[in-house]
Symmetry: C2
């Protein structure tokens, strides 16, 4: 299975996870002397920042998912493997897959991403799904659209009102995006389609335990997003904790709210990297890495992205779970390992360069925080659209997403209103 026979055997690099970090690392190591294997449980790289658009019927899954093989096809030294990692045998330097196969490595890059964190309430996951995979997005789309269908057939006004209520837990960028997108779905795309209910009367609640939404953004930008959400009809409840989530209701600050759909966006937790390596993790499940992104005591193992706890030497804070952090880490490590192939120089330290932080509320309403300067409103929204189309992999996806966004903008319609897959409540 070796493609290159050189004098010294070329090092084997195993990368776990083909998200932003793993993929950037594999690309940087592409067409070098390293023998690279990238393992993922899906056959595609998912552009997670646009997943909320799949969940709200604006895009199709294939618009934001590109086969990993296709992205890396030019690099003959990179093997792509569809599989589930079960553990790491650090003593024998091999990765164990769920089906029993083992992958030996000289360098191991772990970037499996994160899941939602339900804190002390794992039982809430069944009623309040998060949004991390295509299956999640399809399930959520079905649940949202089904709620309107069931409401249309419901004769009891109280039950009808409950079905038309969506509660979003967590006022971070994910919660804000979902709240805005659901409000626009109801008020624009669905508004003329029903006979017995008024979708525009749908209730969208955004619940945040902290004092304000978008805590990671400057106050002025968060206040702008707050106003815009309210203008869309979203009810924002700050300073209120979710106390219980059930099949069809949520208890918020002592009040029971009957809801047709509950969506979780209140915090994430890193994957199993700590367990795999038998090392301690922080409160969010992340493994602490050193300046070169290596795990202390394991000079040949690196952790990237949402799974890594990297304290920024400038600010002293842990880097947030953002696509740009993961991408920069993957690219940095891939380039560093590539240089190490030719010269035995030590790995350089990673430096994060903040490209700006963004969140979108809806039509003509986004916010950008570039530190020194800030942007909000229509211009920020346009910039958001351009940046996200630019970041998509492949010309075809870019063209298709651009056309669909233009169409949505002109017509207020949504093109992917399918109730399919997941739990189809109507059957």
């Amino acid at each position: 299975m070796m493609n290159n026979k050189t004098e010294a055997p070329s090092p084997r690099v195993v990368i776990v996870g083909a998200g932003f970090a793993g993929l950037a690392c594999a690309r940087a190591l592409g067409s070098t002397g390293a023998r690279v294997t990238i393992v993922d449980r899906h056959n595609y790289h998912l552009f997670v920042p646009l997943l909320y658009q799949v969940a709200t019927a604006a895009l199709s899954p294939a618009d934001i998912a590109e086969p990993i093989r296709k992205i890396l096809r030019r690099h003959r030294n990179v093997d792509v493997l569809l599989g589930e990692v079960a553990g790491v045998d650090t003593a024998n330097r091999s990765v164990c897959l769920a089906d029993g196969e083992r992958l030996d490595y000289d360098r191991l890059v772990l970037a499996p991403g994160s899941r939602y964190n339900y804190f002390a309430h794992p039982e809430w996951e069944a009623w309040a799904p998060g949004l991390k995979t295509i299956a999640d997005a399809r399930r959520l789309r079905s649940r949202l659209l089904c709620a309107f269908e069931l409401a249309e057939r419901e004769r009891d006004p109280q039950r009808q009102r409950a079905l038309l209520t969506t509660v979003i837990v967590g006022g971070g960028p994910t919660g804000v995006e979902m709240a805005g997108a659901i409000a626009e779905l109801a008020r624009h795309a669905l508004v003329r389609d029903f006979r017995h209910v008024d979708p525009a009367a749908a209730r969208v609640m955004l619940v945040e335990a902290g004092p304000r939404i978008l805590a990671a953004f400057p106050e002025a930008l968060a206040a702008f997003a707050h106003r815009r959400l309210e203008r869309l009809g979203v009810e924002i409840c700050c300073g209120l904790a979710v106390e219980r989530i059930g099949a069809d209701s949520v208890r918020i600050g002592g009040d029971e709210v009957a809801a047709g759909a509950v969506i979780w966006g209140a915090g994430i937790r890193a994957g199993c990297v700590g367990d795999w390596l038998g090392v301690p993790v922080d409160r969010a499940g992340r493994v602490r890495v050193d300046a070169t992104l290596a795990v202390p005591d394991f000079a040949d193992i690196f952790v990237l992205g949402d799974s890594a706890r990297f304290d920024d030497p400038g600010t002293g804070n842990a880097l947030p779970a953002l696509a740009q952090v993961a991408h920069q880490q993957g690219q940095h490590l891939g380039r560093a390992l590539r240089r190490q192939l030719s010269s035995e120089e030590p790995l350089p330290p990673f430096r994060f360069r903040d490209r700006g932080n963004t969140a979108i509320v809806g039509r003509n309403a986004a916010i950008f925080d570039f530190g020194r300067w800030q942007l909000k409103g229509r211009l920020a929204w346009l910039l958001w659209a351009i940046v996200h189309i630019y970041l998509l992999v492949g010309f075809e996806k870019r063209l298709l997403v651009a056309i669909q966004w233009l169409w949505r903008y002109l017509t207020y319609q949504r093109g992917a209103r399918l109730i399919s897959g997941g739990d189809d409540a109507a059957r």
Copy 2:
């Protein structure tokens, strides 16, 4: 819930099924005095003729599925209902839904479509899925793509070869389309993406029990399709019966063929209309209708599309299960019922106008049979593409499909190569 209060109560028309027949009927009755309810188990109208492109990763489900509500939104007299029909109470003139609700009717239009017919072997369905729904297409896409992924990891050459073998049962238009599309997927889209297998060596077998493929087409056109399929590398086995289908092999004419995927396209069977009405059905499960598409003995019940047995007065043959037949029947009945609203004239007889029969093999290769004249090759393929884009509902879908086809044509790529939903064999 009545929108119009007129002197004589306006008649209630219930339409079951929003396929080509049901939808055409509802549209023809739109914005009239009739109170129309259209019931479907899905919230979308599916353009089934392009479903094979979803199964072979060329299009996304949303490209060929449009919400029924959205199509009919202008017609305020039409109610759309997401639900499953459990039976018909002909004595009390009401349709019973699975959830217990009843829909009273004055006129009932039944167009629930068909399922695949496994003849005496219902157990084959688990191993050899047909292609009727989006869930079917997703499952098949996952199975086809997974077979390549598993083959890439397989070290045993015999087992690898088995995984790369696809058997398609039935040499009608569906079987021919699938065989051509799978051969092109392997030989073009996937060919450079794997390291340890050669997708171009994938084996695609088309098995037809009759003496030749495309029996419904003139011999010259079928022979052209046969040659083109062989040029794509498809092995065509005519005159051979499938004797057994198992989890990973098929017995064909006494030989056991190990296969990674088996696809069924060997005949369809109408839905439950016969059971609902308690009337006899023909061998394919169809209910015989009279010249006005009404069921004998039930002047107020009509059956359309794949569920109806309508013998063409011209040829004496039963009309085939084609989209154009269903569409024409739906439109005819809708218009006839509309005229009956104003004047009490009797329903006119239905006349089928043959718009031509078509099948596609692949790039630059389709066939058209217009009776008097025939078309094959690149021109037929272009006509096929234009006709199918024209027949799609909505400008956005047309634009998106046209762009994707152009992109596929120029690059040989497929845009929707997702393994997701259904039985993901790799997990």
